[in-house]
């Protein structure tokens, strides 16, 4: 059974169909990369998975449990919050909380969600996560004292601290200076090698090809092509996919 089943997701904004009919499955431990040009609906899809947008139609099922049915949206905020915890999201703009240190950013939500007696072990775990991100010496720094790459690594640790089933990345390196993308990609690569289930929206084609198991090419609100990442990116079948990939190579 796939860990994630997405079926027939449709989403309109005003009169624009942003997602037309999106369905795909993801197996546990696999990494999926979603590629496509701006405005193709990649980010909206990711936001639907994280319940930041509610699809008009379609279902999202994790480990056999249906979490969302667009035709019959959840109105109870508590259920919504519980369902949301299956997914983690790393934003393009990091969105760290500026008034908290790196460590506090990581531990804030887990501490709020559990008993006071758990606090020490949550902090221990937070330190471990930051250490894995190579940020042992930065734990007590505030976000504005960190570089973009360091901030994004804190954001990844923050998402991991919630122990989501599926970790999503929305163009995690797009807001970074080119020389800082490497350190973030390295961390994601490491997560992939440990079989963290991930969905990555990215413009880094070489990275998507090397790290992802499968890839989806989205165009104009539909999945135009999907398959093993290496195959899709090296030998795309669809004309539109070829066009898109070669336009990136031209840069």
């Amino acid at each position: 059974m796939p860990i994630l089943e997405v079926k027939n997701i449709k989403k309109n904004f005003e009169n624009t169909e942003v997602l037309k009919d999106i369905s795909f499955d993801l197996e546990e431990g696999q990494t999926l990369s979603i590629i496509g040009s701006s405005g193709s609906g990649k980010t909206t899809l990711l936001r639907c998975l994280n319940f930041l947008e509610t699809p008009d139609e379609g279902t999202i099922t994790v480990r056999g449990k249906q979490l969302l049915d667009g035709a019959n949206p959840i109105t109870d905020p508590k259920t919504l919050r519980e369902n949301r915890k299956h997914f983690g999201l790393v934003f393009q703009q990091f969105n760290l909380f500026p008034q908290y240190t790196a460590l506090e950013n990581v531990t804030l939500a887990p501490i709020l969600h559990s008993d006071a007696s758990m606090k020490d072990s949550i902090i221990e775990k937070g330190k471990e996560l930051l250490a894995e991100m190579g940020l042992s010496d930065r734990m007590n720094n505030y976000p504005h004292q960190l570089s973009g790459g360091q901030q994004q690594r804190v954001a990844i640790a923050r998402a991991l601290a919630m122990e989501p089933d599926i970790l999503c990345f929305d163009e995690p390196t797009s807001a970074l200076d080119p020389e800082l993308t490497g350190e973030v990609l390295r961390v994601i690569r490491e997560l992939a090698s440990r079989h963290t289930t991930m969905i990555i929206v990215t413009h880094e084609m070489a990275f998507a090809r090397d790290v992802a198991d499968i890839a989806i090419f989205m165009d104009n609100g539909i999945i135009l092509e999907q398959g093993p990442a290496k195959e899709l990116i090296n030998n795309p079948k669809e004309e539109r996919t070829k066009q898109f990939l070669s336009s990136l190579n031209d840069r």
Partner: protein
């Protein structure tokens, strides 16, 4: 003579201080309430509140004092403020509270709008509730952003309290001016300036401290 004047001005300043403190006490929270109403999705709440904000910010405070004090008697034929000093003080207080609450509400509104949506979304994807997001994430960032404009308004309020004398509320300028009639001297009126300066100076120091305290993050 100097000590007589100082004593009288101190008594007057007590009136100024009372008006100042009580105005802040009520208008700061009322402003938040007005701000939430003006951001409401219910049009029947949002638009009347925005109309009121427009009227209050668009007319002189002195006029508002006169309307609140004399209005009920003239338009409704009822004397709501009684005949003694405390009635006039309450009328002045109400005018100040409404006026400042409207200004504060706009400051709050600007502050809330200036916090990136991503902050709230980050809270959401971490499974936090609306109130957790407000108290743990938004609130301190909001306070940091509104301290400078709010302190500006508060310093203005120190001086605006002198307007209350148009409806004969006793405050420091009233007492200073009284010496022109009673003793034929004008310097007590100028002397009141020292009280305003010292008080607003102390407030500036206080606000600077608060800003420094919140300087640890951006």
């Amino acid at each position: 003579m100097f000590w007589t004047v100082t004593e009288s001005l101190l008594i007057g300043f007590w009136g100024t201080l009372k008006l100042f403190c009580l105005t802040l006490l009520f208008s700061l929270p009322l402003g938040l309430f007005i701000c939430l109403c003006s951001r409401s999705k219910v049009k029947l709440i949002k638009y009347p509140i925005r109309l009121i904000i427009w009227i209050i910010r668009g007319t002189p405070l002195m006029l508002q004092l006169l309307v609140i004090y004399y209005g009920p008697g003239i338009f409704l034929g009822i004397n709501v403020w009684g005949t003694d000093n405390s009635g006039r003080f309450i009328a002045a207080l109400i005018a100040f509270v409404i006026n400042y609450a409207c200004y504060f509400s706009e400051i709050y509104r600007g502050g809330i709008q200036s916090i990136p949506v991503g902050q709230r979304e980050a809270g959401k994807v971490l499974g936090m509730s609306r109130s957790q997001i407000f108290f743990k994430i938004t609130m301190l960032q909001l306070i940091k952003r509104i301290v400078p404009p709010i302190s500006n308004e508060i310093i203005t309020l120190v001086k605006d309290t002198s307007l209350a004398r148009v409806i004969a509320v006793y405050e420091i300028i009233w007492n200073g001016q009284a010496f022109i009639k009673s003793s034929g001297i004008i310097w007590p009126l100028f002397y009141t300036g020292a009280f305003y300066l010292i008080f607003s100076g102390l407030l500036s120091i206080l606000f600077n401290r608060i800003e420094k305290k919140l300087d640890y993050f951006r």
